[in-house]
Subunit: 234 residues, 2 copies
Amino acid sequence: MPRVEPTDPARPEPESEPASESGSESGSRAERKERTRRAILDAALALAADSNLAAISLRQVAKQVGVVPTAFYRHFGSLELLGLALVDESFRSLRLMLLDVWRHAPEYRDFIDGSLPIVAQHVRENRSHYAFIARERTAGPPRVREAIRHEIDLITRELATDIARSGAAEQYSSADIGLLADLIVSFVVTMAERLVDDPEAEERTLAQARTQLRMLLVGALNWRSREPADGGSR
Amino acid sequence: MPRVEPTDPARPEPESEPASESGSESGSRAERKERTRRAILDAALALAADSNLAAISLRQVAKQVGVVPTAFYRHFGSLELLGLALVDESFRSLRLMLLDVWRHAPEYRDFIDGSLPIVAQHVRENRSHYAFIARERTAGPPRVREAIRHEIDLITRELATDIARSGAAEQYSSADIGLLADLIVSFVVTMAERLVDDPEAEERTLAQARTQLRMLLVGALNWRSREPADGGSR
DNA sequence: CTTGACAGTGAACGTATGTTCACTCAAATA
DNA sequence: TATTTGAGTGAACATACGTTCACTGTCAAG
């Protein structure tokens, strides 16, 4: 039986079923496996927070979860694959949040005041995931870095098509729309990094980001693409 | 054995002086110490490039340098202090480069076309240092992270005073100048990260960055600060 | 009721880690 | 010339690492 002696990793998992059993070994076989998997993901997330993924060990994770090191391999082939799983779940949640943002952005004016608080709230509620992404984006194993960059690229493209659709697509070349989307996403990534880094300063960070985003969009509104094939050959 | 370092144990040290002695033990006592110190810094820089500072070991560094592990302590008390030294030397070089940039920026138009190539060249010639900064900025030991953030803050402030001096300081509140400087520095940091990440794409990255920086400055030129102390809140 | 699948166990392995300590021996100082 | 200094040595330590292997006990399918 799995012992639960280390720092209590009580599952705050939203169970659709009313958990009649308070013990840690309830549920079906598959449910128990999934619970261990979650515990491993959470433990890795917590341990990596004090340094980074490449600096933690399989044995530390296993110890924190309360299982023997070998049990790790039943769930992940390596720490790198664990990292990819964390990237996956981080961006799955992020994309759901972005659906809200897309919806609440009918005009440019509302775009900022409507979107930023939603993003900030999501960062606040998923701090460890954002911290993970911010760190591993530049310092993670190559495959993890690539996965994160790919996800951000996808988001940038979505924002670009959204700008092209709802904005004045006439005055911008499609290349310039892409560049604008990239500028915005890069800025929001930077802002998210700051929210993660210093949660206490959320209010100030947000106020500044709002002004900066407005500066940026003033630039966009006064922008005229010169030639069709200006700087962007795609 | 997850990773190996097939690095040649030979000294790849670029000597500017015509080495009359082919051996590696010329010079005074202090010079020899300094040479070992440099070798340690370079070795750590190279080893961290495959993961990050927190993931490498004192022994790996010592092995790569070609000294016994204990010799490390004659130069640095810990890997963290080594990291701080690397931050220091990275930004010392960076600041020298920025002096050039400040000088060659009399107008906004020239600011972009004159500055970006200088920055790009510096990144190209100091790739390993920029890679180090980019990684450790988010994933390094806390004190290293803090040191990097502090250096970037100083640069941002310098840019702000430079904008206030040479630009039209009338139409912006001082707070907004700071926000604009932060916007620019953040963007350049992102651009530098990309140059480091994919040196092959330097030309395209630079072309896009030039357009994006122009978008950003169009925003700045059309910006009017609403109230003295506040941002553009409505 | 039997049986196979399989999450988790526990020992064992060879190797790598940080740090200590007493030491050498050539250059710098006196 | 005699002495001090200090960069680099090499052994030793306790601990941690990833990975292997044969195992156990229980849930679910046959």
